[in-house]
Each structure stands twice: as C-alpha cells, then as structure tokens.
Point group: C2
Chain length 384, copies 2
C-alpha cells in the first residue's frame, strides 16, 4: 500500500493550503520543487537545499535513464541514497525531455524511439519502461509517459496526441500496479489549448482514480494569459481531494497566479538556470548581477534573505565572481534563488493559513509583478 496521501487543510478562493505525505516525509503545499535534473540541483548539496527550505525535489527520468542508468542507481540503493536526499523525490516520465532533447524521435503506439543526445545510441522509452525506470529509481511520486506537443499544434494533432497519451496512461497504470506499492502515480492532463480536449483529458484521467494530477503541455510557448486560463479550467475540474502539479512553471509571478488558481506543486529550472546566467530574484524584482552599477555595491542581493550569499557577500563581490566566471558565482546565486523561491512558497503558505492570500496576491502583483515586467515568456526547459 502506498504511504502517499494528501490533506487539504484550508482554501481561500481556489487557492489551497495542504500537506502531502510520502514514505520520505511530508511536503507542505503549495510547494516548489528544485530541479535535480541528473540527480543534483546544479551546484548545490542536499544540505543547501534543506537550508533553503526545500522539502521535495524533482529528478528527470530521461537523464537518469541515459546516465548513469536506472539499474546503476537501483543497485546503489535507489536515487535517495545515490544523491543523499532523504526527503521526497518526484520524477517526470521522461516524455518532455525526449521530445525536447533527443534526436530522431519516432512516436508509435509502443512508445518513443529516439537517439540519445549524449552518445547517439538508439533507445526506446515506452509506457512500461518509463514506469520501470522510475521504479528502479525508487522515488516517491512517478508519472506516466505522455506525448508533449510543441505549441502551437492543430486541434486534430492535439486530439490524436491526447488519445495516445490516454492509451499510454492505461498501460502505465498497469505497469505501476506491478510495483511494490511504495510509489504514487500522478496522471498528466494534456489537451493543448483546446478547452474541449482539456475537459476530456481531465475526465478520462480522473476516471482512473490516481494519486494526484499533473497539468502538462503548459509553459511550452503559449501566452501567459492562456496558460492561466487553461490552468483555471483544469484545476476547476480536478477532484479537490487530490494534489495538483503544474509542470515546468515558473516565474515568481506565475507561482502566485497559479496558486490563486488552485495549484499545489511546481517545478522549474528557472531559479538555478537563471542563477548561472547572472540573474538573482529579489523582493524588488529580478536583477542582473552583471550590471556595472553593482561594481562597488556593498549591499547584499536582498537584505531580508537568510541565505549564505546574502548574509556574507556583497553584490560587488558576487558581480566580480560572475564576471570572472568563478564557479562560486553560480553556486551562490543558485543558493540565493532557490532560497528566494522557497521563501515565496513559505510566505504563500503562511498567508493561506491566515486567510490573507488575496491581499498578499494583490500586493505581490503591484510590487514584484510590476517591477519584474510581468510574465511574458515561459521558462520551461531542461537544464542538462
């Protein structure tokens, strides 16, 4: 029997305060999962992640399948022990990365044949093998293989793709049921930008009574307003008693707006990827540490931030490290951004507990939202 559970503690409008239970501990929601693409949140240790307040991380099935291989991870005691993260881990199905990274993808009913982006070797990812890989990794929350269409796609292509994803889901569930029961399987709601197909996706996915529901196929290039509308639509149809995970989202503003629409779980490479590009998130909006105005700036990135980068170093020093390509720059900016994201989620949980989410959201929109120039592009991408 799966130790997985979800408790809905409180709601304010569509926004929800909750708690996920897993064999590796609890996760307070809404929660943001730092992305440990290849079994490591780039430049950070598990101790750093705990210090930043992270309770759960995401790892990519596609990457771990290719390197070091799921059997290696299994033989070494599973992904928790391999990466020394004793909290919950969620994996995607590998679908998104296959379609965005691999070469010569051929999609058939069987699955996806592709060539590895690492060594060009020929590989197959099927609904069954994706589940088997995730079982070998031994993570807490797994996902069924789904087809990820590029945006824009025609209604006809989207319908064909959704049908495939749903057929794969049935096979994934069968494979999942052969497992040891220690894992939760989430369904992935696809359906592109079509309201009708999204409705059908929710209906057919939820009919299977899964442990939670991911919203897929968003943050793939569509306008932000459309992403918000589709999120609204889908969360409005999903059962309240199960957690909702918006895959690959997003910017700070997107997190607040999606929590307002009933999302419980997020992941995105933005905090770490942007750190490596010199962008730091702060309460006053993002800043680019490359800018000349920071040359002699003795202030920390963010005066209120408790992270080591802010407690110990000036913007001037961080800029110097970044401009001279010192590895410590990427580490300190990553630590800061992950801390910022975790702090934002903690603040949302706090205002939800106090029934003040609406006021918080309005303030955030006026403050951070305006300063960050809104949310015009979608950051979903892989970090490898």
């Amino acid at each position: 029997m799966s130790p997985f559970g979800f408790e809905l503690l409180k709601s304010e409008g569509a926004a929800r305060l909750g708690r996920l239970g897993t064999a590796h501990g609890a996760v307070d929601t809404p929660a943001f999962m730092p992305v440990a693409t290849q079994g490591s949140v780039k430049s950070l240790t598990p101790t750093d992640l705990r210090g930043a307040g992270a309770q759960i991380v995401l790892a990519n099935t596609y990457h771990l399948f290719l390197r070091p291989g799921h059997e290696v991870v299994r033989d070494l005691g599973g992904l928790h022990r391999f990466m020394d993260w004793d909290g919950p881990i969620l994996t995607d199905s590998g679908g998104f990365q296959v379609f965005s990274l691999a070469r010569l993808c051929t999609v058939g009913d069987d699955g996806v044949e592709f060539r590895s982006h690492v060594d060009g070797s020929s590989r197959l990812l099927s609904p069954e093998s994706s589940i088997e890989i995730q079982q070998a990794l031994g993570v807490d929350i797994i996902h069924p293989l789904d087809e990820c269409l590029a945006h824009p796609a025609s209604e006809r292509d989207t319908e064909r793709s959704l049908a495939l994803t749903l057929r794969w889901l049935a096979r994934s569930l069968a494979a999942h049921r052969k497992g040891d029961g220690g894992q939760a399987l989430f369904g992935i709601v696809q359906g592109g930008v079509s309201e009708g197909l999204r409705r059908r996706a929710v209906e057919e996915t939820c009919a299977l009574g899964l442990d939670g529901y991911a919203v897929g196929g968003l943050a793939v290039g569509e306008p932000t307003a459309l992403m918000y509308d589709l999120t609204d639509l889908v969360t409005g149809l999903l059962p309240a008693a199960r957690p909702r995970y918006l895959m690959g989202v997003g910017k700070p503003l997107d997190l607040v707006e999606s929590v307002a629409r009933g999302v419980d779980l997020f992941d995105c490479v933005l905090p770490t990827r942007n750190a490596r590009n010199g962008q730091a998130f702060t309460r006053d909006g993002p800043l680019s540490i490359k800018q000349a105005r920071f040359v002699r700036d003795a202030a920390p990135l963010d005066r209120e931030c408790p992270c080591e980068a802010c407690r110990r170093f000036s913007r001037a020093y961080l800029r110097h490290l970044f401009m001279t390509r010192e590895l410590l720059a990427y580490r300190l900016l990553s630590l800061h951004n992950v801390t910022f994201y975790q702090g934002l989620m903690a603040e949302m949980r706090e205002v939800l507990a106090g029934g003040r989410f609406g006021a918080f959201r309005a303030r955030f929109l006026q403050g951070y939202g305006v300063k960050s120039g809104g949310s015009e592009d979608n950051p979903r991408d892989t970090e490898a």
Copy 2:
C-alpha cells in the same frame, strides 16, 4: 608596527614546527595555503575552507589588479571583507602571473609593461605599484615584484635577472615602508638552478632583514630532484628565526619532502585544479574519478576523510556528477582535495610535535609516494 611574528616551536632534522602570528590570527606551520586566485578558492566558500582546516589563503595580485581592480577592493573594505575571509591572506607580487599569462611583456628597470590577458589593455606593474596594489588589498603578507625566468635559462640570463630582482626588492622595501605597517613583506629568493646565484640571492635578500623568505623560481619545470636540492640549499642558508615559503609547490609528496628540508609555507593550485579534472587525492594515492571501475562503487573517495564529499557521497555518485559535468562534481572534489591537503599538513604538524616526523616521512614515501608514482612533474600554474 607590524603584528607579524614567527615562533619556531620545534625542529626535527631540518623540519620545523612553528606558528605565524598576523593581525588576522595565527597560522600553524607547516601550512598549506589554498589558492584564491581571483578572491575565491574555486567553487568553495570561506566556511568550506575553515571546515577543511585552512588557516590562511593566497590570492593573486595580478588577477585582482585586473579584476575587479585593487581600488574597488580597497573601497569595499579590503580583500578580507570582500571575500569574507577573516583569517590571514598572503598575496604574491603579480610577477609570476605577468610572465605566464600576460601578453607582450616588456621587462625594464621600471617594471613590466604588458597587455592584460582579459581585455588586452596596456598595463604596467612596477615594484612600487605591486606594493601599492597589495597595500590596497590590505592583506597580511605581501611580496616584492620579481622576475620569473622560464626554465631552463642560461647562467648569464639568470644572473642578470637576479640583479634586477634585487634592485626591485630595494624599491619594494622602500614602498612597503611607506605603508601603514600592518603588513609583513617577504623577500623572494631567486637565482635559478645556479648554486652560486642562489647563495648570492639569499645573502643579499636576507641582508635586508625581511619578515620572511619565499623561495621562487622552483616548480617551473626543473626535475624534482633538482628542486629538492635547491630547496635544501636555500633553506640551509636562510635564518632559522624567519618563516620560509616555497612558492607554487606542490604535490603531496613534494610537501612532505620540502617540510623535511625546512619549508614552513606552501601554496599550489593542484588540489582545486586537479579536482576540476576529476583527480581526487587519497591516502592510497590519487585516483581519477572518471574511471569505469567506479561506476557502481558505493565506497567514499577516502574512508577516513571527514569532508562532506566523503561523509555523504559514493565514488559512483561523484563519478556520475563528473561525467555529466555537474557543477557539484567540481565543488565536492575541490572540497575533498583541500581537506586532504589540510589533513596532510595537520598530520605533519602532529608528528613534528611528537618527534615522529622521520618515521612518518619514511612511511609516507613507501605508501603514498610509491602509489602516486613519485613526483615527476611540477604543478605550478595559475588557475584563472
């Protein structure tokens, strides 16, 4: 008055146990200085360095002169505050890097004209400006500009070069005396591979009664046996009451052999640079984490090492991180290697205190020395 001092606590043969005093705290010798080339020991924080046991770090004048500029560092409160390292800092003069990194060096009595390797700008490093830069950085131990000849050099070139270095030394000392007195100035003994010139260098440098003496012009490509012999020669001539610093050395075996010859201070990029190339130092000799034999190796790098890399991760995981170019690989291997070096120095201090250095040295030569294949090349280099 300089707060600098050196206490010789104990000797065993030529090997010495001592203690440096500086305004930023004491350093137990023999000591190894991790290299913070650009004001950062690559990928590590000051907390990491303290945890590894480091008491003093080295920074490169040439690099900080070019970026961010010594005036910026001075205006931000000096290098200690800039990099948030509250222990002692030693800087070189910039000479070695100018000759190895800069373009179009022209050496004259005035100093060295060169083009920056960063932006091609035309720059001058003179005996006076080198001291002024180091004063602006506010570090504890500084060095006079010296000419670093490539190996091999003729006796005639070496003699001409030594004469220049000695003229520059007199000017450096004059500039140093205009400072606030908070810094110690070490002399640098040059003289190439010529016994006569090394003798002359020691004599004329020591006549100035400096705070300590560095041995320069070694570990630049000469055979290791010759490096050991020249170290022997020079330390045998230096005053016992002053610390001796062997610049740019070296491998673990070189450290033991140089301590045996009376050296107190070392620096080298080896622990961090080799970490980034996948080499880990262990009690059983160095290992390359790239090797396929580590794919499923659940053991730590070194069972006795107290560092986070060894306490928490397997060789298999570290190999995976390295093969997938994860930034965490460089960080964890650097932390391990710096910890290994500091542990080796601590062990040498311990056996010196107990009068057991001779036995330790013999054991080390038979153990680590044999396994590491001896010490055939010289690692001195810059990390930028």
